[in-house]
Amino acid sequence: MGGALILARFTFREAIRKKMVIWVLVLSAIFVGLYAYGFSSLRSNYLERVADGQEPPFGFAVFAGVMTVLGFYTVNFLSGVMAIFASVGSVAAEVDAGTFHAIVPKPVSRWEIVLGKWLGYALMLAAYVSLMCLSVLLVARYIGGYTPPNRVAGSALVVLVSLVLLSLTVLGSTFFSSLTNGIIVFMLYGVALMGGVVEQIGEFLQNDTLTSIGVGTSLVIPSDAVWRTASYLLQQSGGFSIQAIQTPFTASSNPSNAMLVYAVFYAAGALGLSTWVFGRRDL
């Protein structure tokens, strides 16, 4: 287990040295700035309309709620992309470069190497998602005067989305080259997004075929199903229903808890399988 921690630290340092961390932070800061600007202009717009006597049909909390969910959605998307691209070569690139030749003979187990790299990325993603969710919540609160429900659970589920994608990418990295792996996982990610939309349309139209397609894609890659649960929780407000506003990024119905359990096992299973595959591989 000590070896896994050494590799986790190594992975973290590598991300800093390769300037990944700094650029992610710079771009994320730009995102937060734009988000805050948009939120405040929405608010002043709303207040102007109220002052002019043209009060919109919904209270500001509805708009603020949608903005918050969109903020979370962006964090979810960015962290998903980051999970995929950061770890796309976690095993493959080291194998291709031959850098594992000096590491694998050391007194560490191969599973510790894979677990350590996963852990390094997982901790970075968890920290990143927490920081970004906190930024969105602070903007919503201080600029929008709005605080969504289930903040911690919602943020934790966004972390889970990135861990699902991370585990899948690490698994792919034990089979495929970095490029192939990146394309495959990103396509699956896209399919999951589309599957989520299809499932919602199916539910809305009560079309069983569309719903089944959606559920099927969630089983192949449960990232979007987990996101929809997060989205549902963040909108679960007692006083009024902001779910009247439908967007492809928000959820109207709560995906089953079984899907969350499935997602946790999916991530753990993919990680376990990648240690097994890497453990048997000739380098």
Binding site: I6, T99, H101, A102, K106, P107, R280, D282
Partner: protein, 358 residues
């Protein structure tokens, strides 16, 4: 050792069957006297391709062992199997008396991979710190050994430099530093001088000698036969994934000499006779002419001779006078007969070219 020859290579492994209990005993690795490396009927197939056919060998503690063979003979695959990078298809192996993958054994094994590719974003000392921590060295041990290792490989001034700025030779040196960092009992060096200039090669030779003095077992794979010859106690030559020759360097190289012969007026027939009796490894005959004076065989027909002929051939100890008598008796004019110690290169060429040029 006396029974070793190229035709009948000594494969000691088969004479030392390992007792099953021995692998499991938990004596201290450094006190353990079991072989540093024990390999028995090792085989590796990649799909239908056989990389290592049937390899058996044994390396004793404290030896510098040369591991030679032509490209594609299976050397690197064997080294990879010994370091847990590649899984053997079948066969038995133990390293430092422990089964493959044993963590305690791995702590005392250093390995310089053939490609020596490292994470180039790291600084030299950071790189060694990372590898030291993988070896399980404490912070204090790392602090002490990293400067020592850098000094040993001549990079003491570059501890803060990033590996990205290193030349190939420097990368190879830092790779050696990484391999000797954890006070190893066994070091594998796979082509340790491939990127080094002559001075660098001499440095590596000195490093190997230093390790040898400390009682470290060194398993050296190199194409530079002169280097292997200079430092190794024993040598194995492998061919087509099997051991083709194995023994102490002196045993393999001694016993036979190569003799360079320069003669003129060498009758064609005599040349055939020499080729029949001795193992000729090189012959260069120039100019056809006729024998001066009476033909040595007494026949009247003019005899075809080579005006100038240079030969290199193998002689056992004490055979030189008989060769000279044969040449002179056959009518050739002998200018030079120069004995030369057989080099590892001669041996290598003999073993690798099927059975030599007999």
């Amino acid at each position: 050792m006396q029974g070793c020859s190229i035709e009948r290579p000594c494969v000691y492994a088969s004479r030392h069957p390992i007792e099953t209990g021995r692998l499991m005993t938990k004596t201290s690795l450094s006190l353990d006297t079991s072989p540093a490396i024990y390999v028995e009927h090792l085989r590796k197939e990649y799909g239908s391709k056989v990389a290592v056919q049937d390899l058996s060998l044994q390396v004793e503690r404290g030896e510098v062992f040369g591991f030679l063979g032509p490209n594609g003979a299976g050397k690197t695959t064997t080294i990879k199997m010994l370091n847990g990078l590649v899984r053997p298809t079948s066969g038995r192996l133990s390293v430092l008396g422990r089964p493959l993958g044993d963590r305690e054994a791995k702590k005392r094994i250093g390995f310089l991979p053939e490609l020596f590719r490292f994470h180039e974003w790291m600084r030299a000392e950071e790189f060694l710190d990372f590898h030291g921590s993988l070896y399980g060295l404490s912070r204090g041990e790392r602090k002490q050994r990293i400067p020592e290792a850098l000094k040993l490989v001549g990079l003491e001034g570059r501890s803060r430099s990033r590996l990205r700025t290193f030349s190939k030779g420097m990368l190879q040196r830092i790779g050696i530093a990484q391999a000797v960092l954890a006070d190893p009992l066994l070091v594998f060096l796979d082509e340790p001088t491939s990127a080094l200039d002559p001075l660098g090669r001499r440095d590596v030779r000195d490093i190997i000698r230093t390790l040898q003095e400390r009682g470290v077992t060194v398993f050296l794979n190199s194409h530079l036969l002169g280097e292997v010859e200079a430092v190794c106690d024993r040598v194995a030559i492998i061919k087509d994934g099997e051991v083709a020759a194995l023994g102490p360097k002196a045993g393999l190289l001694g016993g036979e000499h190569v003799v360079e012969v320069w003669v003129t007026d060498m009758p064609e027939r005599l040349l055939h006779e020499v080729r029949r009796r001795y193992r000729v490894v090189g012959a260069e005959a120039r100019g056809q002419g006729q024998a001066r004076g009476p033909a040595p065989t007494g026949g009247r027909a003019p005899v075809a001779v080579n005006t100038e002929c240079r030969l290199s051939l193998h002689l056992s100890n004490g055979e030189a006078p008989a060769l000279v008598e044969l040449l002179v008796g056959g009518g050739a004019r002998v200018h030079e007969v120069t004995p030369r110690q057989r080099s590892l290169e001669d041996l290598f060429v003999d073993v690798v070219q099927v059975g030599g040029d007999r």
